[in-house]
Amino acid sequence: MNNPILAVRHLSVTFNHRQTVVDDISFDIHAGETFALVGESGSGKSMTALSVLRLLPNNARLNADAIDLQGDNLLNHSEFELCKIRGRRIGFIFQDPMSSLNPVMTIGSQIEEVIKLHFDLPREALKQRVLELLQQVEIPDRQQRIKDYPHQLSGGQRQRVMIAIALAGKPDLLIADEPTTSLDVTIQAQILALLKNIQQQTGMALWLISHDLALVSTMADRVAVMQRGKIVETGATAEFFSQPKHPYTRKLLNALPLMQSCLTHTAKEKPPLLRVSDFYCYYPIRKGIFKRIVDFVRAVDGVSFDIQQGKTLALVGESGCGKTTLGKSLLNLIPGSGRVVINGVELNALTGEALRRQRANIQIVFQDPFSSMNPRMLVGDIIAEGIRALHPEVNPDQRKTRVRELLQQVDLPEDSALRYPHEFSGGQRQRICIARALAVDPKLIICDEPTSALDVSVQAQIIQLLKSLQQEKGVSYLFITHDLAVVAEIADDVAVMYRGKIIEQGSVVEVLTQPKQAYTKKLLAAVPVLKMEH
């Protein structure tokens, strides 16, 4: 093989002189290839990328034998010289295009800035080059767009602008740090295709950093897996996925939710627990001097569905389709209108105290395990909160016993009750949230993206826990998610939501294998599927 473009030898990064996040790693990236660095959150993959360009935060300390860019050791360069390499020979794409673009500069001038910095071009040529770059990243209406500010673009377009900025210096190596994580799955597919396309045109090397094994399997030529600051396995993609050597890699691969898993589901009709019919959730748009209501945002626009007892309905859709609004307004956290009947009781006819009593029937588990618990309360008090509110007659001793049982059910140690939420990891926190919801014996739990903030291996455990709790207690789930693979793992029925409406629903096998609507087909096609040679 030819000489590597980037060769990193014995790189370590420490925070505050104590915490080692990258621990003595070495790797090569060759010209024209796509190299993927995979790992779960906190494995140090982003820090590795940042340390190559010395963009680490202030409290981080870098240590390495060599970081060779085409045989030229970057460690020997001063900060000033490094500025000529950043953006010129190595381009960088960050995860969140919204926060990574300067909000008060037009996108045109943000792209222009890089070109001016590294090339000496006359004004006209400069503008031409900006338009050319925008064309390269396939942005329509280029003449208008260059005058736009980042907030005026959609998420996908913003990421395209990020890519244009990274390409502006005609780099030999493009580092893409989780380039699609904050995007919807259909947009993600477009961006990935674009990256692949550009790479073929320019022949540059692409260093992809991701947590998503399925995505990596479709993109990369070579893969390296990072765990706790170390690279545990490196290999060509085909081998890597067919014959993983390291136990950690195997664990990761096994934890991946598989689309095929829905095929094993058996459909058995059960009586409905929840009936929602003609449900609306509108926000008024006010205008004019007296703020008259001129129109509505139709967040949820007339949906109807049933959930059967002890079954799981997955509500699938992309961001902004109204799925979270629907979940919250079923709980009466957001006002909505329509018929909601649970267990024969019509919820929307209730107000005040009567509504509060009925709250026990539906509970919710949120996406973000860090903001869903009061940081000032002990875990025991958090779990007991619902019992205290809805069953004031239960005495403190009984309550303690109940909390202990609940902790046991979600596989947490008993002494957790006397600790604070911040002492727990993301997965453990999600277990606490599940215990809190279970405390009042609900018939239905709304799970609002409960696993999307978690790493793959933890995600698998939580799904397993939810499934076993369902078998044990016969509780139903409304599982709100954007991830079709997770749907395949857990759901019995699926409803696909698009712009406030449910456009397709049916059993999980039906929807995932024989989708009827074009949108559903598009969604399914965009999901990166693990390429495995069995």
Partner: protein, 469 residues
């Protein structure tokens, strides 16, 4: 014993602080920032200085009528203690450590002849026969005596402290956190922390500076006017020390008065939104839109008119001055609650969308309970930070307000009044600098300590800042 209104509020404030301390003891989210403050050298040093001021202020807040006094005068413990200082008034200005008056006048000599010269002071340096030669050795000797006294005192205290701690430490820790001690993780760690606390040394160093300095000053002030005397011959050192209470009262009681308003209105507006929010926002925007100095001026004018027309209600000068001080605190409170209220409203708006609040709603927790259990504890750090930040600016504001005659009563002691009285004398030759300097030194020490402490508190409690520590 006589309890003035501000005294009563100070006692209330102490009770509130103690109750809060008891309530928060052992709560981990408050322990961590407190430990961080405890580890900070600057924080602990400034706290010691602040406590020193507070101690003087407290001594000055216990008022009584002396039994043998016929003048129907109300004095404080501090006054009682400093009776010589209080009563050793001269005729007019005299410089620090001076033995003669500042200005020449006709004197009757021993032999009955009249002479134009600097008369000897009645009290300052009275014990000296020949001031010109004896003064400096005498001052040095008395300073040394005072310093040694102070060093001895601090040393003895230090010895006692370590002896007590050695024997009681383990028991104490066991009482405080039994559940953690049971887990076997706390004792060695806490012990380690206690013994190697970097700020302990700094605190002792400061104590070894402050206490001897104080004792030396006290000792000297019995013989001299260490900061000179003012226009009517009153000791400036006494004035400056008495002003401490005024500064502290304004800095703390204002906050005590405005806190309930700010917290209740801020949280209600943020939590319930809708018309509650509209009304509360209307109230604070209205109050905010009046320039605060003018609002204070207008209110103080009205208080003055009221007091002038109801003279019977204010029997003694000190009661009258106290009422005016209290009014000033209230008015400052009314003009300053809006800032905190707005902050709390914004934070509550954010918090009510937090998922744990929604989860509590879904669990059927009542709204009142949500406010108390979920919202209030999570905005308390903002309240705390703004209280310590406001303190120093209020102390500074007092000086400015007193300067334009809308501050404390002209008869009460305050740094503002001292500056106000002294600035007219700037034109004199030689310049009368001591009143200003004394006010400057005392005020600067208090405000600097408060500012430094506020910084440390903010670092410890602000979640955005604690990350980079």
């Amino acid at each position: 014993m006589v309890v003035l209104w501000t005294d009563a509020l100070i006692y209330l404030l102490i009770a509130v602080i103690l109750a809060l301390g008891l309530y928060l003891r052992g709560k981990e989210h408050i322990q961590r920032p407190l430990q961080q403050i405890g580890r900070s050298k600057i924080g602990m040093v400034s706290l010691v200085v602040l406590l020193f001021f507070v101690l003087i202020g407290l001594l000055d807040s216990v008022h009584f009528k002396p039994a043998d006094d016929k003048k129907n005068e109300i004095i404080s413990l501090l006054d009682d203690w400093a009776t010589p200082l209080r009563e050793h008034g001269e005729k007019t200005y005299s410089a620090p450590f001076a033995t003669t008056l500042y200005s020449k006048e006709m004197m009757t000599m021993a032999d009955g002849s009249m002479q134009w010269g600097y008369p000897r002071l009645e009290f300052g340096g009275k014990h000296l026969n020949n001031p010109e030669t004896e003064k400096i050795p005498d001052i040095l000797q008395k300073t040394a005596y005072g310093l040694v006294q102070g060093l001895g005192l601090t040393g003895a205290f230090m010895l006692l402290w370590y002896l007590v701690r050695q024997t009681h430490f383990e028991r104490l820790n066991f009482i405080v956190r039994p559940e953690l001690v049971a887990q076997g993780q706390v004792v060695p760690e806490a012990r380690h922390g206690e013994q190697f606390n970097p700020s302990a040394k700094a605190v002792w160093v400061v104590l070894f500076i402050i206490v001897p300095l104080a004792t030396a000053l006290i000792h000297l002030s019995a013989y001299y006017h260490v900061f000179g005397t003012d226009k009517v011959g009153e000791d400036v050192f006494y004035q400056a020390v008495k002003s401490i209470r005024t500064g502290l009262v304004i800095g703390t009681l204002t906050t005590l008065i405005m806190l309930p308003m700010a917290i209740i209105f801020g949280i209600l507006a943020g939590f319930f939104r809708g018309w509650v929010d509209d009304v509360i926002q209307y109230i604070y925007t209205t109050l905010n839109s009046i320039p605060s100095v003018l609002l204070i001026a207008a209110s103080i004018l009205m208080v003055q008119v009221y007091m002038a027309n109801h003279e019977a209600a204010f029997t003694s000068v000190i009661v009258r001055a106290d009422m005016r001080l209290l009014f000033l605190c209230m008015i400052l409170g009314v003009t300053s609650w809006t800032g905190l209220c707005r902050l709390l409203r914004a934070e509550t708006l954010k918090l009510r969308e937090m998922e744990y609040v929604q989860a509590a709603q879904a669990l059927g927790v009542k709204q009142g309970t949500i406010l108390v259990r979920h919202i209030l504890p999570n905005v308390m750090h903002i309240v705390l930070i703004s209280v310590v930040l406001d303190f120093s600016s209020l102390v500074l504001a007092e000086a400015v307000l007193s300067y334009i005659n809308i501050g404390v009563d002209p008869t009460s002691y305050s740094w503002g009044n001292m500056i106000n009285g002294a600035r007219l004398e700037m034109a004199r030759e030689p310049i009368v600098w001591w009143s200003l300097s004394a006010a400057f030194v005392f005020m600067f020490a208090l405000v600097l300590a408060a500012n430094l402490f506020a910084d440390v508190v903010q670092n410890a409690f602000d979640p955005r800042r604690s990350g980079n520590e």
